[in-house]
């Protein structure tokens, strides 16, 4: 392993962090980074570096990292770009293991001086084998380590989980993080790669494959220099941990001047999609689906087959879910005779008792609801369950009735749900069910269905990988 790779764990789990450019002035990013570290309850040592103050946020500050006598693992740099090469040299001399470079003004700017600075800076850290997140990034957060090394203190409010988001865009990272707070999705880490001085997607994937906190790897990609390297890395690790990717930038079409059809049709976007496919990366088409899919993958097992059971309190939502499931290749077939007989015993003939099952008539009879759910769970022809229930005043207690059986089942086959009530009515019950991993809940039947579809797609990818 190269030196840079061996330093990756220290980058994400440092014992001591220096903030170079720490400040008490809230108009400076150095203030917000300090706030992230302190609010995030980082348990290691925080070392503010500021040439003019003795203290920042009440913590002892030092004029430079050399004035601090103990070891420093991680440096977060928020100084102007032109100062960065000298600071990096100091970091090398100090024996720092990792750097988060928030500062912008490198190769992303029009001025060629930016590119020169980029090269010069990269050279210093590459020789010393120091991994750098950034430049031009909000930073990164390692939730399990209580390390919020970003300029957004609110990231610390995120739930801890096992999804790692690696993103090329700060805006998208913020968007997904805020959506995740609403959707009750937990992360292990969020990494803003920014302009990738020496830590690119391929290096992150290599690291995350060994990261015990991460089970699902979600990528947001705009464009990369060395695509082949990413593909080879993903391919080498295929089938181990799911990698899902949302790539934007469809605009660039193929070479119109090309003499052949193949040349003129081959848009960069098609090639990305195909290459991801080939490497076992699941292609995703929106931020919403990226988050929804990551959530399902982090909590559910993969369905063994395409046959789904749809259990619904009302017919409409189940129609919407069934349409989507079937159009994406999943099946809503009949149950085994044994299952169907049990359901027929529990539901009156006026209900739709075949798959999708209309459980409406069983609303007031929790033992009937439990019986139906149990029968479907045990059906060997069913590989996944979609459970859809809208609140109605008359069924306010319906969730209580199915709570225990769902909790006890604990995702032996995937159970994905769309359970919805006006704010405040079922919130706690849904939260509790999600906490116990009894359900993975979504705000619409289509999103719930799509999450199941993507579990199945990944299952297929995994199967073909294993065949090879």
């Amino acid at each position: 392993m190269d030196r840079l790779a061996t330093n990756m764990p220290s980058l994400f789990s440092p014992k001591s962090v220096a903030v170079i450019g720490a400040s008490d002035n809230m108009n400076k990013l150095g203030f917000h980074v300090m706030k992230s570290l302190t609010n995030g309850k980082f348990s290691g040592k925080i070392i503010p570096i500021n040439p003019t103050s003795n203290k920042v946020m009440g913590i002892n500050a030092y004029p430079s990292i050399n004035d601090y006598n103990d070891l420093i693992d991680l440096a977060i740099v928020v100084l102007p770009a032109k100062l960065v090469p000298d600071i990096f040299q100091e970091c090398v001399d100090k024996g720092i293991k990792g750097i988060v470079l928030i500062t912008a003004g490198f190769r992303e700017i029009d001025d060629p001086a930016g590119a020169n600075l980029h090269e010069k800076t990269a050279d210093i850290v590459n020789r010393a084998g120091i991994p750098v997140i950034g430049p031009n990034t909000f930073g990164m957060i390692n939730l399990n380590g209580n390390l919020n090394a970003s300029f957004t203190p609110e990231f610390s409010n995120l739930k801890k989980g096992n999804i790692c988001l690696v993103s090329q865009s700060g805006g998208i990272s913020h968007l997904l993080a805020f959506m995740a707070m609403e959707l009750n999705v937990g992360f292990s880490k969020i990494i803003g790669l920014g302009n990738r001085l020496n830590v690119d997607f391929d290096r992150m994937i290599n690291y995350l494959m060994t990261d015990p906190d991460t089970k699902v790897i979600a990528l947001y990609i705009e464009g990369i220099d060395d695509v082949r390297k990413l593909i080879e890395t993903a391919r080498k690790n295929r089938g181990q941990k799911p990698i899902i990717a949302y790539k934007t930038g469809k605009g660039k079409v193929g070479n119109q001047a090309s003499m052949s059809h193949t040349g003129s049709i081959a848009g960069r976007h098609e090639l990305y999609r195909s290459a991801f496919n080939q490497a076992g990366i699941l292609n995703i088409d929106s931020t919403e689906t990226l988050l929804d899919t990551a959530k399902a993958m982090s909590l559910c097992p993969l369905p063994e087959g395409p046959a789904m059971a749809v259990l619904s309190g009302q017919a409409g939502p189940s129609m919407a879910a069934c349409d989507l499931l079937e159009s994406e290749g999943l099946k809503i077939d009949g149950f085994t005779r044994k299952t169907q007989e049990k359901i027929n015993d529990l539901l009156p003939p006026l209900a739709l008792r075949a798959n999708p099952v209309d459980m409406g008539p069983a609303w007031y009879d929790s033992s009937a609801m439990q019986g139906i759910i149990r029968a479907v769970m045990d059906d060997e022809n069913v590989s996944g369950i979609l459970f859809l229930m809208m609140f109605a005043s008359a069924n306010v207690d319906a969730l209580k009735g199915v709570r225990d059986i769902l909790i006890k089942w604990a995702q032996q086959k995937p159970v994905i749900s769309c359970i919805l009530s006006p704010p405040g009515i079922w919130d706690e019950e849904i939260n509790e069910l999600e906490k116990f991993r009894a359900i993975v809940n979504y705000p619409t039947p289509e999103r719930a269905a799509m999450a199941m579809v993507n579990l199945w797609r990944y299952k297929r990818i995994k199967e073909t990988m294993e065949l090879n």
Partner: protein, 227 residues
């Protein structure tokens, strides 16, 4: 490859259909049976060897879109039609340097496209999709980066929306997927082993019964950059 080297030496940016197929054939890709002719005498000899019905085509590295230029005559059934078509094609080609191809008429209702493009970032990428006029209209295609494994080749066939065209449908045999897999893998190989090959179009690949045959082909060249 000699053909490619010579073409580059002559400053050409493409191979003729026949040259392109010679390259394909050397990579075990099944191509239509054909003979190059330059005059009425060789035409009649070739016609006898290929047998009716057959196809006549203008063949030159300077012509890439033969259909649009009216340089293809299909389903020729006798000597008179052959002579007439030959003269028309020669006239149609005008001053363009080239000859005429006498080609077996490959029968089959299903047309596929197989291609290759060399992308500056991705390197050689193999394409598969619906062929003939549908290539441009539907763009129902998929790509894989070379080198392809068998699984990649199978996957990319399954990837197109119209993948059922390969099944046994309407009394037609299912396509020989093993043959298609080999073709796709070998097209990738051509890209990997010949830096000067910039693009390949094999369109159409006609399913003759279950058997895919390259009926038209174009290889675009570019002097490899010395890095």
């Amino acid at each position: 490859m000699e053909i490619i080297k010579n073409a580059l030496k002559e400053g050409r940016t493409a191979l003729s259909e026949h040259e392109s197929k010679e390259i394909l054939a050397s990579y075990q890709i099944p191509v239509s049976k054909e003979i190059v002719v330059d005059n009425a005498e060789t035409l009649m000899k070739a016609v006898q060897e290929i047998g009716y019905p057959l196809v006549l085509k203008g063949c030159s590295s300077e012509i890439s879109h033969k259909t649009e230029k009216g340089l293809i005559r299909l389903d020729i059934r006798n000597d008179n039609e052959a002579k007439e078509a030959f003269e028309e094609i020669v006239r149609g080609m005008g001053d363009v340097k080239g000859s005429v191809l006498v080609q077996e008429m490959v029968k089959g209702q299903r047309e596929l496209v197989i291609g290759l493009t060399r992308d500056p970032q991705f390197g050689p990428c193999v394409m598969f999709g619906l062929g003939g006029i549908f290539t441009e209209i539907l763009k129902d295609i998929s790509f894989r980066l070379a080198p392809l494994e068998k699984k990649d080749a199978l996957d990319m066939m399954q990837d197109i929306k119209g993948h059922k065209i390969l099944d046994a449908i309407r009394g037609m045999e299912a396509a020989d997927k093993d043959m298609l897999v080999d073709i796709l893998i070998n097209v990738g190989k051509i890209g990997l082993e010949n830096e000067a090959v910039k693009e390949i179009d094999i369109n159409p690949v006609i399913l003759s019964g279950s058997r895919p045959v390259a009926v038209d082909a174009l290889i675009v060249l570019e002097e490899p950059k010395i890095s």
